[in-house]
């Protein structure tokens, strides 16, 4: 009789627990409806931003847990536009393979993690890309002692890279197209690739060229590494949001455009206050003194002012994190403004 009673209680308990789980599951829906993301972001008071697990120059945390990098600046700029406070951001470090699930499930509001814009990702994953904050391409890095000067000499090589990336597909295409044998060794985390490559598991490390410059800094002997001249793919890296919320997609899209337009208009974090009192209508529209461009997106009218004041224009962000005067030492190249011979071109604010 005693055991029967216990059974009964257990049954009741299990039933209650199940019912609870069921209700919880039934109630959560991660689907983004127009306007819902901005409302949710405003009510929690910060932007939840998906970043890498540590890629210097793009998204990297220092010892105190402060995130910096050009991808981080996108998050900060979004927060500046929404709250007038670039610090209203929380970061979720994600491996390449986790990132899309995190965005789909609503765990993050923006994915800004050196992510390549491809057709499959843009159409098949329930996410949309909102722009390109860095034009990149995939490259190869080898040890100098290998004596290799071009990628066509890599037949038979062992190649280390990350799983869940465009990288592993490109490298397969490249070696197949050139009928070369190779061995692909694919790790989940970028740091694991660095350690294994450093320990001699692979002859070649392949990823986005910017990533090679960044990861090289983590090697035991960075000066012993050379990045080969070949670029084997197009890797337009940019932020992405969930599909279905056009308003939020616009906010993220125009945040990046604002940074680019600011550079084009010569507006910087240092001169924006002075420039605000100029009579140039383009600048007046930019800082929100003319028109109601912010309001149309559900933002305050001085959204772009806060972006530039607190985060800076595109050039400032680039020079601060990846430019020639940083350890990465990357020149603007493709990422120069269109009028300087690069690809960065933002539609006008008007």
């Amino acid at each position: 009789m005693k055991t029967k009673k216990l059974n009964l209680t257990l049954n009741l308990f299990a039933g209650a627990a199940l019912a609870f789980v069921g209700l919880a599951m039934g109630a959560t829906s991660s689907y983004a409806q127009d306007g819902s993301t901005l409302r949710a972001v405003k009510s929690k008071g910060f932007v939840q931003c998906g970043v890498s697990q540590g890629l210097p120059g793009f998204s990297n945390a220092d010892d105190a847990g402060n995130w910096t990098g050009i991808d981080v600046d996108v998050c900060r700029a979004v927060a500046a536009a929404v709250f007038g406070d670039a610090d209203a951001v929380k970061y979720t470090p994600l491996s390449a393979k986790e990132r899309f699930t995190a965005l789909q499930s609503g765990e993050i509001d923006v994915l800004s993690r050196n992510t390549t814009w491809t057709l499959q990702r843009d159409t098949g994953l329930g996410i949309v890309f909102t722009g390109v904050n860095y034009y990149d391409g995939q490259g190869f890095m080898v040890r100098k002692s290998l004596g290799v000067s071009n990628a066509l000499e890599l037949a038979g090589a062992s190649v280390c890279t990350n799983t869940g990336t465009t990288t592993e597909l490109n490298v397969a295409d490249y070696f197949r197209a050139n009928s070369m044998d190779y061995e692909l060794v694919a790790f989940e985390k970028a740091d694991e690739v660095v350690v294994a490559y450093d320990a001699g598991r692979c002859d070649v490390y392949t990823t986005d060229q910017s990533g090679l410059y960044a990861q090289r800094l983590k090697m035991t002997d960075p000066s012993e590494q050379v990045v080969l001249p070949e670029v084997i793919s197009k890797e337009p890296l940019g932020p992405a949001v969930r599909i279905g919320d056009a308003q939020w997609a616009n906010i993220v899209k125009w945040t990046l455009f604002a940074m680019l337009n600011a550079e084009e208009l010569d507006i910087t974090s240092r001169n924006i206050d002075a420039k605000s009192s100029s009579s140039d209508p383009a600048i007046l529209r930019f800082v929100g003194k003319e028109g109601s461009f912010g309001e149309n997106m559900g933002l305050p009218n001085d959204w772009a002012y806060h972006i530039v004041k607190q985060v800076g224009n595109y050039s400032e962000s680039f020079e601060r994190h990846v430019g020639p005067n940083t350890p990465l030492g990357i020149s603007r190249g493709l990422n120069a403004l269109w009028k300087d011979g690069g690809l960065q071109y933002a539609p006008p604010i008007r």
Binding site: M1, K4, N7, L8, N11, A14, G15, L18, A19, V21, G22, M25, G26, T28, S29, S30, Y31, A96, F100, T101, Q104, Q120, R121, T123, G124, L125, G126, L154, A155, G156, A157, S158, C160, T163, G164, T165, E168, L169, A172, D173, R176, D181, Y182, E183, L184, V185, A186, F187, E188, K189, E192, V195, A196, A199, G200, R201, D203, R242, I243, G244
Partner: protein, 399 residues
Amino acid sequence: MALPTSSTEDSGAGRLLSWWRNPEIRGVFFQILTLLIVIWVGWTVADNTIQNLNRLNIASGYDFLEDTAGFSINFSLVDYSEESSYGRALLVGFLNTVLCAGLGIVLATVLGFIVGIARLSNNWIIARLATVYVEIIRNVPLLLQIFFWYIGVLRALPNPRDSLEPIPNVFLNSRGLIVPTPILQSGTGFVFAAFVLACVGSFFLWRWARLRQQQTGQQFPVFWTSMAMIVLLPLAVFFLAGSPVSLVLPELKGFNFATGSTLVPELVALVLALSIYTASFIAEIVRSGIQAVNWGQTEAASSLGLHRGQTLRLVIIPQAMRVIIPPLTNQYLNLTKNSSLAAAIAYPELVSVFAGVVLNQTGQAVEVLSIVIAIYLSLSIVTSVFMNWYNAKFALVER
């Protein structure tokens, strides 16, 4: 006349009440209720998922398994190339999981039994060493141990151009262990036949020897005779058939060996780490199993004149097995599941290939994970069923 009516009514309510008081009926009622709730929860979750997927515009269904994978896998037991399908990649991952779990289970069992018995040794040093092994290994996180072996193994090995050649035509370097690839020609069938024949022969020999011992008390060296049979018979046939296997020797070309078969360091590191780790738990299970056998059994065995080895093998272990097998099954299941930590060292097993790469390339999270869950569940069930059968064989037969 009113009485009977009311009494029927009474008995109706009474019957309901007495049903309710019947613990068996009540038990059934609650079980049905629980089942209904489970079904409802399952249905809600499925419905919710499907609706969300539709709204997010994510295609669902298992058709993607036929699409071209496009990525390469560096270690595979079956033919695989970039042109193969995602389904094929699933098979590669699955077989790699089974391979490393299988090897891990065998090694962990052997090592675990040795260490477990060593812990009970009368030799102070051996017993202490075994204790130190168990205490250190079980208390260091497995992922760390996997990295330790992986990086340790890698750093110790030279690059392909300076490969070690421990046996002629067998090479060892940071790309792995490269051995000649055997190419089977006609005639190998006879060698396999000889092997099977020798195994069957050994079985009958064992039966005969046991019967003879029961009847006459005479012993026969079954183990050594069988071993000789199993090794020598196929070998003899092999030579008689004119050595019907040719070898493709490893040859260094450019960066690496272009021919030969490679055992990748990731597999070695993973199997080492998994078996060494799990062996520390198995050792404790074995020790407790042996200690659970009454000391009187040992005394009885020695009074029959059995020496220590025989006592252990014939008296103690068979009885200890009954205590050992159930928790041992758990360890086997753990080992299989732990093999999914391989993603960290790039060993292409089920989770890293399928739940990692394929999930990421296709975005079919629900489908991919449902397959992975189903596979792990089946592996666990197969292991449990096998161990239960084995356990039933060892169970005390009460007479």
